[in-house]
Amino acid sequence: MSLEEKKQQIVEDFSVYDEWLDKYEYLIELGKGLEAFPEEKKTEERLIKGCQSRVWLDSEERDGRLYFTADSDAIITKGIISLLISVYSGSTKEEIVADDFGFVAEIGLKDNLSPTRANGLVSMIERIKEIAGQGRQ
């Protein structure tokens, strides 16, 4: 699936839920389904600053594409980071840097989080962009 298709998929998945509680339920399921993140990788460098709960993000480059893994001690936050990395894993650095992350606004995620959580979301997006921006011209 291309980056665009993946984003479209998320927007569609989200649109079935009218109630925000249901959307949380969906994020919780995503969070619970996230692949286990090794304890030894939960280092200070992988921790995303600006989140109230703790979020760790790691990345790996294979064949010119980035693959992300992540974890959080709060499950909704874990669902959010899970959603982000499922969209952007497998993309090239160029694709990620060029992306405007507009689908996050489209699903209304940012507007429906508490301000502290919304800041955390912004920090997560910034970290993904930062990783994609590393080592480029």
């Binding site: 919780i28 499950i75 936050t77 989080l113």
Partner: protein, 405 residues
């Protein structure tokens, strides 16, 4: 009836996400009654002038309202004189004032200050700054397993070098009323003064500073239904007189020259700069409301019922760990953890159900470390909260936990 009380608070009829607001973050700030809003806007609309100095009519109106509030506070906490009431921007500013000015006068290298492990950052950090500045030592009084203060350890902590003890009347996390009178007696037996952080205490307990015999008592207006940016430092005159000013400028001077500046008498000595003259008068209707609520049997019965109900529900629930578990000292403020569910997730889900809670470290990181948690969820009730709301809170908590586990 509670309906009459609730009607006085316009903010309580709000709906959030289409659901009636259940506001349980009163320990962070209380809602304001219409009487406070009216006093506030009246001050801005018909009494707005800078206080004390000018001779014109409006200045007189504003000064009277401001100084009237001082009299109101003096009577409310039974201070022996109005000069012992210093207006500040809040409890934090009041503690900082004492830590600085008392520290300048009485604390030197090697001296000791005692706080408890259950203090709010506002009653820790100013003392840490002082100790750093003066090379003094900060000592910590521990809590017992049920969250009550380990008062029996106080004797051992007090030494020849102890200069002041700063303790909260009620912890903003544990919700237990501390025996501040007993603490003052112990400290005074060693000649050590006591500052009581009354940010929560003033809301839930009748306070008579002469009966408590504390040396300082501080509180914020906004937790007591008054305007934000209002606050009170009560200090025994003998201490306030002996303390140098905290900030310079504005009304705190008697005369200024480059050769020598002399300072205004109490309480202006500690009220530098333009004061919150629009806000301070709201302390009067706020105090009136607090007194009415205390005298209202229906409110008191509801508060007691809420405390007992929530306490029982939370302690019975095996998924929940409640901190601060001495029921006879308990106010309707409950901080707890849920096994396997993050406090922030719970707060976020319950927010969508209309329930406003606090989650996180609640400005008490040392206490979180002591309890071995990264954060807690807190429900704090005000006199306008109903048992029905408490029941809704418990129901929503159960739903939220089930969503997460």
């Amino acid at each position: 009836m509670l309906e009459e009380i609730r009607k006085q608070f316009p903010a309580l009829s709000a709906h959030v996400y289409g659901k009636p607001l259940v506001y349980l973050d009163n320990a962070a700030t209380a809602m304001r009654p219409q009487s406070v809003v009216d006093t506030w806007s009246q001050s801005v609309l018909t009494g707005n002038a800078n206080i004390h100095r000018a001779v014109h009519y409006l200045a007189g109106v504003a000064t009277e309202a401001y100084e009237g509030a001082r009299d109101g506070v003096q009577a409310f906490i039974n201070a022996s004189s109005r000069e012992e009431i210093v207006f500040t921007s809040g409890a934090t500013a009041a503690v900082n004032l004492v830590a600085f000015s008392f520290g300048e006068a009485f604390i030197g290298e090697g001296d000791e200050v005692i706080v408890s492990t259950a203090e709010h950052h506002s009653n820790i950090v100013p003392w840490q700054l002082l100790c750093e500045r003066k090379k003094a030592v900060l000592k910590v009084l521990d809590i017992r397993e049920n969250g009550t203060l380990a008062v029996e350890q106080l004797e051992k902590l007090l030494s020849q070098r102890t200069k002041i003890v700063a303790i909260s009347h009620i912890s903003n996390v544990l919700g237990l009323v501390n025996p501040v009178r007993e603490i003052a007696q112990i400290c005074h037996a060693h000649g050590v003064p006591v500052l009581v952080d009354g940010a929560q205490g003033i809301v839930h307990e009748p306070v008579d500073v002469q009966a408590l015999d504390c040396d300082f008592y501080v509180f914020s207006g906004h937790k007591l239904y008054a305007a934000t940016g209002t606050g009170v430092l009560y200090g025994k005159r003998k201490w306030l007189d002996a303390m140098p000013p905290y900030m310079g400028g504005g009304e705190m001077i008697k005369s200024v020259s480059f050769a020598q500046t002399t300072f205004a008498p109490l309480p202006e000595k500690f009220e530098a700069g333009t004061q919150n003259f629009n806000g301070a008068p709201t302390l009067v209707p706020a105090i009136r409301f607090a007194q009415e609520a205390r005298a209202n049997a229906a409110v008191q019965a509801e508060q007691a019922a809420i405390t007992e109900y929530v306490y029982t529900k939370l302690t019975e629930d095996e998924r929940v760990t409640l901190y601060g578990t001495s029921l006879k000292q308990k106010i309707p403020l409950f901080s707890f953890a849920v096994k396997g569910a993050h406090h922030e997730d719970l707060a976020l889900i319950m927010d969508k159900m209309g329930v406003a809670l606090r989650s996180g470290q609640m400005c008490a990181e040392p206490l979180m470390d002591r309890l071995g948690v990264t954060g807690l969820l807190r429900a704090s009730f005000g006199p306008y909260n109903t048992l029905q709301e408490a029941e809704y809170f418990i129901k929503c908590l159960d739903k939220a936990i089930n969503m997460l586990l």
